[in-house]
Subunit: 213 residues, 2 copies
């Protein structure tokens, strides 16, 4: 049991939906609305009202009869709950095309993710900075870990290096790998993997485009 | 019925898995292996062998007894099937942080996606180029569509503009929106939406990191 998850483990689909609720509730706050009902939220974003109420019950917020949820506290609770208001430090592995693009400010720091350094074996990029983030030789990673509080590794290496570098990152002490490669990497528990394959999303989009949704 | 989808509509989970198979099969090709069995592929990437065989049956490829699938033709078939070997042109809407990062070479052209122009209302970025892609005033979009073959719009605008710009893009003739905003946008069918919310993935990762997988 934890203060943040009073009702135990939360289903991943709920966690995936909460950022969409948060984005919408911020829009509502921007136009000066003070309360939002689960019915309105549900209608606005196209989710079932009972689903919205259930999802929000996990974050220990309940709406008031008739007026619904108070917008400002709900934003704070959601941001805190989703980890967006904490500082999570990350290292990036692989400063090639995709990695370099991610180093340009994606706005991820608004969501609590701060990339502190990037590692690459290529002498052509080592020593450079992108958006204030230094690119270091990958051999410096273990030394950096001795004094750092970084827990997350962002994996943007070439496909044939993905498994090896993921293992190296976890052996060095990282607890989570945000995997942008299209490789199913395997790392020892309790370290966790979050896959974000832009290419898989592209494939799905191309398919919908050609054959319909 | 279509030449590309001889067995009818393919389940989205299959389409999501195929790019992972493709990435792995390319690795196998790189080390000079000529055949791969569904058993090996399944074991290497941690999917059930019968699932692999079923998924690959959709692309009208069948393995040979004992030796399995011939690697090089399988790569061609998968790339063609997934649309990665075709040229898909796209416009990007919103050249702010996330949009500008996506304009830096993500390597998406290897997967058939070519960003031809970006649109933004901000005079500070209009007229600039990122990675050879011109940033134009958003008012120029309808005119550009008169002579273009672009079908895909990449949506990286601020949250409060997401719905409006998505509608504008579809009214202008785009058929697919790759939505990077955390907003559930609604557009008229047959146009389709592909959501890629980095923030939702971040939330899931933060949660796994804190509470386990």
């Amino acid at each position: 049991m934890s203060a943040n998850q009073p009702y135990g483990k939360i289903p991943e689909p709920t966690i995936r939906r909460l950022p969409f609720y948060l984005a919408h509730i911020k829009l509502v706050a921007d136009i000066g609305q003070e309360f939002i009902s689960s019915t309105q939220l549900a209608k606005d974003i196209g989710v079932d009202p009972s689903q919205v109420a259930k999802d929000l019950s996990y974050v220990a917020i309940s709406g008031k009869t008739r007026v619904g949820y108070e917008v400002k506290p709900l934003i704070d609770v959601l941001e805190n709950f989703l980890g967006f208001s904490h500082q999570h430090h990350a290292y990036l592995f692989g400063a090639g095309n995709l990695g370099a693009a991610l180093l340009h400010d994606l706005g991820l720091s608004q969501f609590g993710l701060y990339i502190k350094a990037a590692f690459d074996p290529d002498p052509k990029v080592i020593g450079k900075e992108i958006n204030g983030v230094p690119i270091l030789h990958v051999d410096e990673f273990p030394k950096m870990m001795e004094t750092s509080k970084v827990k997350i590794g962002i994996l943007t290496v070439p496909v044939h290096k993905a498994q090896e570098v993921a293992e190296f990152a976890v052996e060095g002490g990282l607890k989570a790998i945000w995997n942008f490669t299209p490789v199913k990497i395997k790392i020892p528990s309790p370290a966790i993997v979050q896959n974000t394959s832009l290419y898989a999303h592209l494939a799905v989009m191309f398919n919908k485009l050609q054959f319909g949704d």
